[in-house]
């Protein structure tokens, strides 16, 4: 039996001018989350428990674009979405349009386990949250001053933003050579979070959570809650994606990794490379993946991806750039 493996991400598409201090903060959070996951795995926790645990941590920390620290809609509010999938029986749960639930990934898990459905959204999801007694807070809790600033900029530029972590004083010039969604990366830094795990029993799971695009239309749903697009797990692997949501949906990216493994007999890294190379046309995205053989892999076709990975044999790596 191969050992466990875990990977986390905090978004694909990173401004090359991201200040070193921000890079450090991000790497520290990724390391912390990896260690949380590793600790749980060593105690024999199941893959689905571990991905939920780790994504909860990423949602709680305001650094990335999920839970607290989520990007804002055009109305200045937060609408969060998340999904989780347990590879063993391909059970899944997803939520969208969540505005008061502290940990959307946990609500997604409850949809999977405590409702007859797979996906609940907006008022229906909020109502379910209350029935289930999950922790709820005011929408303001999720809004950070950084994001309020970014929304203002986005409106001025009258464009959609993925997310943006760089302080306002640095983005006066939008002449960054790196672009995503047709606009400078200094203004568009997607930071959806996710985690994939294969546990010591060889079970795979995946979870993804996000606040979505900065300045998005209220009601816009991206790839993160869509099973097969942003999240997927089956007997052979677990995958979580991040980047340009529309490109990930069109490319059914997460399912694609599993499909080429199942139908073309590719190994995990080959599958990840194939999908990143061939399934994104002009879109920018990244993903992390684990296989039931205890392997871990990641890939991205844009400028950097916040990620970390570790395997039972002691391998551990946290990175941002190529």
């Amino acid at each position: 039996m191969a050992g466990w493996a875990i990977a986390v991400h905090g978004g694909a598409g990173v401004d090359p001018n991201l200040p070193p201090q921000r890079q450090e903060e991000a790497k520290q959070l990724l390391t912390h989350c990896l260690n949380l996951g590793i600790s749980a795995l060593r105690s024999g926790a199941s893959a689905v428990d571990v991905v939920e645990l780790v994504v909860r941590q990423l949602e709680t920390d305001p650094i990335f674009n999920s839970g607290r620290g989520s990007a804002l809609t055009a109305k200045g509010t937060v609408e969060m979405e998340a999904s989780i999938m347990d590879g063993t029986k391909r059970r899944c749960g997803a939520v969208s349009g969540v505005s008061t639930v502290k940990n959307p990934v946990s609500l997604a898990r409850l949809v999977m386990e405590k409702s007859p459905h797979s996906y609940l959204a907006f008022a229906g999801a909020e109502e379910f949250a209350r029935q289930q007694g999950v922790e709820v807070v005011d929408n303001e809790y999720f809004i950070t001053p950084d994001n309020v600033g970014m929304l203002k900029l986005a409106k001025e530029a009258n464009t959609i933003m993925f997310d943006y972590r760089i302080p306002t004083e640095k983005c006066a010039g939008l002449e960054s050579p790196v672009k995503m969604n047709g606009l400078p990366i200094s203004v568009y830094a997607p930071e959806t979070v996710g985690c994939v795990v294969v546990d010591s029993e060889g079970r795979c799971a995946a979870a993804t959570s996000t606040g979505g695009l900065m300045n998005k239309m209220s009601g816009r749903i991206g790839d993160s809650p869509l099973i097969g697009a942003g999240t997927y797990a089956c007997e052979v692997c677990g995958v979580s994606c991040t980047g340009e949501g529309e490109a990930i949906i069109r490319g059914t990216l997460a399912r694609e990794v599993a499909a080429v493994m199942e139908y073309k007999d590719l190994g995990l890294q080959e599958a990840v490379d194939f999908v990143i190379k061939h399934r994104l046309d002009e879109g920018f995205a990244g993903l992390i993946a684990v296989s039931n053989k205890g392997e871990v892999a990641y890939g991205f076709n844009c400028n950097g991806m916040f990620r970390g990975c570790a395997t039972e044999n002691g391998f551990m790596e946290v990175g941002i750039w190529e």
Binding site: F128, N181, M217, I221, G222, G228, R250, Y263
Partner: protein
Amino acid sequence: MGWAIALHGGAGDIPYSLPPERRQPREEALRHCLQIGIKALNSKFTPLDVVELVVRELENIPHFNAGRGSVLTNKGTVEMEASIMDGKTMKCGAVSGLTTVVNAVSLARLVMENTPHIYLAFDGAEDFARQQGVETVDSSHFITPENIERLNQAKDANRVQIDYTQPIQNDTKNETEPPFANGDSQIGTVGCVAVDSNGNLASATSTGGLVNKMVGRIGDTPVIGAGTYANEFCAVSATGKGEAIIRGTVARDVAALMEFKGLSLKEAANIVVQERTPKGTVGLVAVSAAGEIAMPYNTTGMFRACATEDGYSEVAIWPDTKIE
């Protein structure tokens, strides 16, 4: 090769004992919608236009679970969803949680063409509909007496159902078991797939969802890769139990099997329906770039129709008993 088109009005436990007064209007409706699609293809409409046109028609017909005639949530309201995909460009659009928009599939197309997004839902989708000036009506327009009856029976049986009219006799609370075939009519999601003589493909699907569903429940229909998918290999529209279709990424899998294992459309569609999803949960219609058609289902029946440019056409509900 010429064009090909296939459409469905839902897969499920459609009993063979379905009385003529429940069966005939649906057969007639399928025939009518097929004719609309055939005429459009002969007039050289693009497959994208054709699938939208046909699904609009299916939405307007109250006998099917989409648009008018949508099944009701556990609060007695209607929440409609739809998606559309253009296989040539891989562009797609989806909507959920609509309550006043007469044609959900057309709003999905507008999301695809007039926004930088793919998927809009609930209040945001309704706002967008008003901005776009699409036809909206009072929500009561969509509600039919049959569906009020279905909801009452579902509540009595305390179950979420894939559209039943009779009470469930089965005592089991196990949601994953397919319910007994004991309703008079089985109505489901609607959808259409089409390919033109150049191999361009498109797919669209629309639904009211599950009877007695929780408010806010989203099914497979608006999830690209689950209920709807189109690329350069094929176009697929699925129907049945949404949760199973999502988990099985049904529409995408048909195309993936063709692409990665070199299977034909029929082989790929059959594998997905017979081997990769639980019995009693799924049906689909699909066309390939080469003009083939496949309409497999693992339920008792599926309301369906198809035609090819060489003059072949078919309207059917169960296996082996074509109506024409």
